[in-house]
Symmetry: C2
């Protein structure tokens, strides 16, 4: 498919203020501190980090995550995994069900090129994967997904999970790699003590299921789960082997109060295009530049912001009585997105910035790869 035409000129070496807007920026100093903070947590622990690349969809960032100690990557979708395999990544968990003959055929093609693990929660899907792998002469590693309270995919812990695990173990062309359970309903619980208690309560049946499988003679090499909101709880829980955190590299406005040990590194650079009255600024970034499902973005460095309202291509910043903002059309504003993962997915390129200079322009190589 044709990319956006005309492609912008290469911005490498420009000052940030010279960038056309809206532009997606990542602050490299902040990104590197976030990588180091996460690496510090996992140093010496039995569990390791398998970062979720759905957050950035950018091989350049995933390479930095591996260099900082991560083992392999997690993808949300098959096409995302295809992009990362093409970029040289060879240990990929697709933390999702791969369903339907077209998708299964693509998965087999990918499994010839990289070590790919997938999640399962359905007997017919297990049978279809096993048949396809057998035809291809492959042995596909799979994780049985267990619903630990989120109410999305996954079978119930205990006997239902054991039954699926046995079916996987008995399938000639599948490898039972272990279990997956995601406490996604708890990643944003604000109070740390409450979060810890609820996450541990959710993990208990997952780890009991692990023990049940092992008692039945089924090997459990991997127990995968966790997110940025819970990495320190789930990553320290006995029996969990890997954590799928993704957002920690950027820390959006929603995660910011939950995870103060990381710092925002992702910004939308916008331009004021209208100042129709002293109490209102309108910028050129709307819902097509920064997503709105978790609320509006935060404005950096302007005192007295009362509200931010996004329409498709506009951001309306209302200023409170007594504000001191003197910005005029043409001036620049930085926004912290409210949801980094869906915001990055709107953009074709990520401007890697250090101290005001664009060091590199990184393709968001897996943008749009939901299929």
């Amino acid at each position: 498919m044709a990319p956006c035409y005309p492609d912008p000129p290469d911005a490498t070496g420009l000052a940030v203020d010279e960038l056309d807007t809206p532009a997606l920026l990542v602050d490299l100093d902040a990104l590197e501190r976030n990588l180091a903070t996460m690496a510090g947590f996992f140093a010496g622990r039995p569990a390791h980090l398998r970062p979720h690349v759905k957050t950035h969809k950018c091989p350049e960032i995933a390479r930095r995550q591996l260099a900082a100690g991560a083992r392999g990557i997690t993808c949300a979708k098959l096409s995302e995994a295809e992009v990362f395999a093409a970029a040289g990544f060879d240990d990929i968990l697709i933390a999702n069900q791969i369903v339907g003959p077209g998708k299964v055929a693509r998965l087999m093609a990918l499994a010839h090129r990289a070590r790919v693990t997938v999640a399962v929660d359905d007997q017919e899907n297990i049978a279809a994967l096993s048949e396809a792998a057998q035809r291809e002469g492959l042995r596909l590693p799979v994780l049985v997904e267990v619903d630990i309270g989120m109410g999305r995919c996954g079978v119930a812990p205990g006997q239902p999970a054991l039954a699926l695990a046995r079916m996987v173990a008995d399938a000639p062309s599948l490898e039972l790699a272990g279990l997956m359970g995601y406490e996604g309903h708890l990643v944003l619980v604000r109070d740390p003590a409450e979060r810890k208690a609820r996450v541990e309560a959710a993990l208990a049946p997952l780890i009991e299921t692990r023990a049940l499988l092992e008692r039945e003679g089924l090997p459990v090499r991997v127990v995968s789960g966790g997110g940025t909101g819970t990495y320190d709880i789930t990553g320290a829980y006995p029996g969990v082997t890997e954590i799928q955190a993704g957002s920690y590299v950027f820390v959006d406005a929603t995660y910011r109060p939950v995870r103060p040990e990381f710092e925002p590194s992702l910004f939308i650079l916008a331009t004021v295009i209208s100042r129709p009255d002293p109490g209102r600024l309108v910028v050129d970034a709307g819902l097509k530049a920064t997503t709105g499902e978790f609320g509006p973005p935060q404005v950096v460095g302007i005192e007295g912001v009362e509200s931010v309202r996004l329409s498709e291509e506009h951001g309306r910043i209302a200023l409170a009585e007594g504000h001191t903002a003197t910005l005029r059309p043409g001036d620049r504003v930085r926004l912290i997105p409210s949801h980094c993962c869906t915001t990055v997915n709107l953009h074709d390129r990520l401007h890697a910035v250090r101290r005001g200079i664009v060091e590199a322009v990184w393709p968001v190589a897996a943008r749009g790869c939901s299929w």
Copy 2:
């Protein structure tokens, strides 16, 4: 920038059920009926349609709009206009302020290739546009944007608009083309009589401003406004010359109750990937395939849907007691997006479908063009 890799194989000629998912579909029969309905409204009226292509970002659809009688197109952003100019469109209104030296330089380059009109609401911006146009030997048509109650961009009606219009008329390299006012705060008022009364009340000061300019000897060739929610009111209001409606081609779940004369033509084709219990279906389309700022999408053809919840790559469909849905993993579901304009902007291609067959695959050529 590299597109999503690997590009899917050309789907032209496939049955819809053979498409990989999530896939963006447009039903050509419904699209053509919507085009004809809108053309029927404008036939013989003094006002004409200048459709907003931000909705579809797709030259193939814009060509059909022109063939159905539209005069020119409306774009939201400069890069969108660049894409459509490259595709051969030569009469483009950018219904927005173009601010900053980089943007103004690009606008001038575009104005050498196509007839482009822009909106203004600021003296310094008028001066910058005029200087740049003079340097380039161009005469740039501009519309003075008037805020008619939406509270976004635009100057107040009456004297403030007159002052800007005079400045434009006096600028050696600008052409005062007229006025723009968008009643975007009223397009979703549900009750038709209330909508009509409020829209006419909003338009009155715009048309009074037109009369004021004309009394002062300033020509007003164009008064541009309106949207899908108001095209019939604004398009019939004396003194309005063109309507910027866009969503009528698709009619999303939000516009559907407001505009029953159009029919939904845009769908997300999704696959059930999990049926963890009888009351729940999980599909492979989430916030990265269909946007959520206006609420969840509607599910087509399944009785007893209680709720739809989107996470990044999943849609959770909860079924009410007594439902009869027998779908299994691998079965297909169609969703009607809640906001067509931002949903299309997530996708690289639009599958044009007639009676179950993909007639063509159209690039969403201006996807991501917010800059």
